[in-house]
């Protein structure tokens, strides 16, 4: 089967920032992305888990988008000002997609 190059951008960010991040993605022309709940984790700010949180303040979400390699820089430039002061991880990796016209 014919496969096409793409990049997978994964942004793990505080749940309170989810709406703002999605708005930035849409403004940057990224119309396809997926938001996943994050169960637990550990990092520079210590261990945390979703269970027992009474506020969105303690939760995290993962926002994943697949896009053409030439669009990655513009996406990162659009979202970086929003993310730089917050707890989270941004990673980019190479991926393959089957239907390239969708990205």
């Amino acid at each position: 089967m014919q496969m096409h190059d793409a990049h997978r951008v994964e942004i793990i960010i505080e749940a309170v920032m989810e709406r703002r991040l999605c708005e930035r993605l849409i403004e940057a022309g990224v119309t396809g992305f997926t938001v996943l709940p994050v169960h637990a984790g550990s990092g520079r700010s210590g261990h945390w888990e979703r269970e027992g949180q009474v506020s969105k303040a303690g939760g995290m979400v993962a926002v994943i988008c697949l896009l053409r390699p030439d669009r990655v820089d513009s996406l990162l430039e659009a979202v970086f000002p929003l993310l730089e002061r917050h707890i989270g991880v941004v990673s980019v990796c190479e991926a393959k997609v089957i239907r390239s016209e969708r990205f």
Binding site: V16, M17, R20, R24, E51, S55, A57, G58, P81
Partner: protein, 325 residues
Amino acid sequence: MLELAADNLTSPMILCFVLGVAAALARSDLSFPEAVAKGMSIYLLFAIGFKGGVSLNEAGIDARLVGAILAGVALSAVFPLVGFRLLALLTSLGPTDRAAIAAHYGSISIVTFVTAVSVLDAGGIAHEGYMVAVAAAMEAPAILTALWLVARGGGTTQTGGSSGHHLREILLNGSIVLLLGAFAIGWITGPDGQREIDAMITAPFKGVLCLFLLDMGLVAGRGLRNARGIIGPGLLAFGVLMPLLGAAIGIAAGAMLGLSPGGVALFAVLSASASYIAVPAAMRVALPEANPSLYLTLSLGITFPFNLVVGIPLYLWAATAFAGG
């Protein structure tokens, strides 16, 4: 006073809370599914809001209602200034952490308020139904004061939105919308409306509150567990002194407004309580450099249990002694 404290400590609600704290401290795997906890909080907010609205329908609107709301807004805006100074005296924290913590103490804990209302109802102590509206009005002003404190010190606030944007988010927070919406429905439909849904909002209320406080005890217990290594003596002192100071100011304000002893006690509870739902979320957006472990642990692990176990009977006793009854 001792009788009040004993009644409070041996009530099913407080014992459920203590069970939750003990289970969390003992690292039990007891937990509530997220959706169940959310469902119980929706039920409690609706019931307390509705009953407050019915009470206003029966008593009618008077100048005290407007005065109480304005006083609540003013106190919520001023308490962070007091907390900010007190934290400077007791700790070596920087201005951003101090402002973020202080914001929590200007805002309110609706669970503490609901528990206090339940204690008053159990004791047959009358109180103004519109205190629900005062509670809603006290949620947000503290956040603006905290942002002003940081901006005044040259710090950076806000990511992806203005102060107005943050305020809109807080005012449209689900808890506030539900509380005020139920209050409005109760006010419009009055006692006739209450009769129609009484079986749902009155009889199960205490039982649901017991389970909800069991869950909150688990959360507070986890907060207490985390407090080791995070909360030093200065912060611990703040977590107890600030509610006492807030309650004293709240009692004075409530008495000056001419509220009933029950109303003064509720004003004290609102003034003494610290937010752990709306304000932490707002602080994560507006002041991401502030350490969330400090304000969440202090508010949930120290002040919330203190107010629930010691504060409510103490404030009720002081309100009765000060405002008569």
